[in-house]
């Protein structure tokens, strides 16, 4: 019989994958390609889910959620889009994990999110360049850094507000076993 914690983790992870997929579909409704003409640029709301997993489940769980989200998303969008999704997602994951290790000291959720967004865009440009055999970096790197900055701030604001709510309402303590409360300071009572 599986331990309750295990069942909880599996269920929550599945829920997060579904959430990430839903967000990916929802953000495609926004014509951000008209504002910023870079192939594959997007708001990156799914990064909020990756951050949630990273903060409250752990690196391994977050990676599983990410890969599953990309693979399942690929079933709807096709192989090419899946490759871009994976390359962006994995690089974003690596960046966010690296920044999070220094989280409490140097970076807040804003820094983590900006790093993740920029890395996500970079991963997509890398994939596009390799796929086409062209040097897309020199043209797209500046705008990719700037959009990473912008979308990073936006997703951080959304994620931060969400995480604070989840922590305060007790959702994290109840459904995320072993999670530390990252956003609300744990005050010591006398």
């Amino acid at each position: 019989m599986m331990k309750k914690k295990m069942v909880q983790k599996i269920t929550i992870s599945a829920l997060l994958v579904a959430l990430a997929l839903a967000l990916s579909v929802a953000e495609r409704l926004l014509p951000i390609g008209a504002l910023i003409p870079v192939p594959g640029v997007k708001l990156g709301l799914a990064n909020v889910v990756t951050m949630l997993a990273l903060f409250y489940i752990g690196a391994r769980g977050a990676l599983v959620v990410l890969v599953l989200r990309c693979l399942l998303g690929g079933l709807f969008t096709g192989i090419t889009a899946m490759i871009f999704s994976l390359s962006g997602g994995l690089l974003a994951f690596a960046a966010m994990l690296a920044l999070k290790q220094w989280h409490a000291r140097a970076f807040s959720i804003f820094g983590i999110s900006i790093g993740g967004a920029a890395a996500h865009n970079a991963g997509q440009i890398i994939a596009a360049s390799l796929l086409l055999g062209q040097n897309l970096y020199t043209t797209y790197l500046p705008i990719l850094l700037l959009t990473g900055l912008a979308t990073g701030v936006i997703t951080a604001a959304a994620a931060g507000a969400l995480f604070i709510r989840l922590e305060k309402s007790g959702v994290i303590s109840r459904y995320f076993p072993d999670a530390h409360l990252m956003m609300t300071a744990e005050r010591k009572r006398a």
Binding site: G33, P37, S108, F110, G148
Partner: protein, 121 residues
């Protein structure tokens, strides 16, 4: 949600890098040449200073490329995102526009040529 030092440094670094790259571009001496690639193969090469054509049409996926005043751009495309069209005019060496779904690339080469001009024996 407090903003921390690392955030500021990261944002500043990204901003600085972006601005730096925007101002470091290939100097234009030689006439610029635009190349249109489809599926990785070159289908058109146009001298932007003295263009032979004003328009390149690829009927099969429905793409129209326009050349005007030493510039080139995707004018129309059948792709859903229209990223290629929104990239706008390309004129400087290194400028590139890509239509991923249709596998069409328009890029501007120019400045120094990589070809060997003379071989001394």
């Amino acid at each position: 949600m407090k903003i921390r030092l690392g955030d500021i440094l990261l944002a500043a670094a990204a901003l600085a890098a972006a601005l730096l790259l925007l101002f470091v571009r290939a100097p234009q001496d030689a006439p610029a040449v635009a190349v249109v690639l489809r599926g990785g193969e070159e289908i058109a090469r146009i001298n932007l200073q003295n263009p032979e054509t004003e328009e390149v049409r690829i009927d099969e996926p429905g793409i129209v490329i326009r050349i005007e005043d030493g510039r080139i751009r995707f004018e129309a495309s059948s792709c859903p995102d229209q990223t290629c069209v929104h990239t706008g005019w390309l004129s400087r060496a290194g400028d590139i526009a890509v239509c991923l779904p249709n596998e069409v690339i328009v890029k501007v080469e120019g400045g120094e040529t990589d070809d060997i001009d003379v071989v001394a024996e």
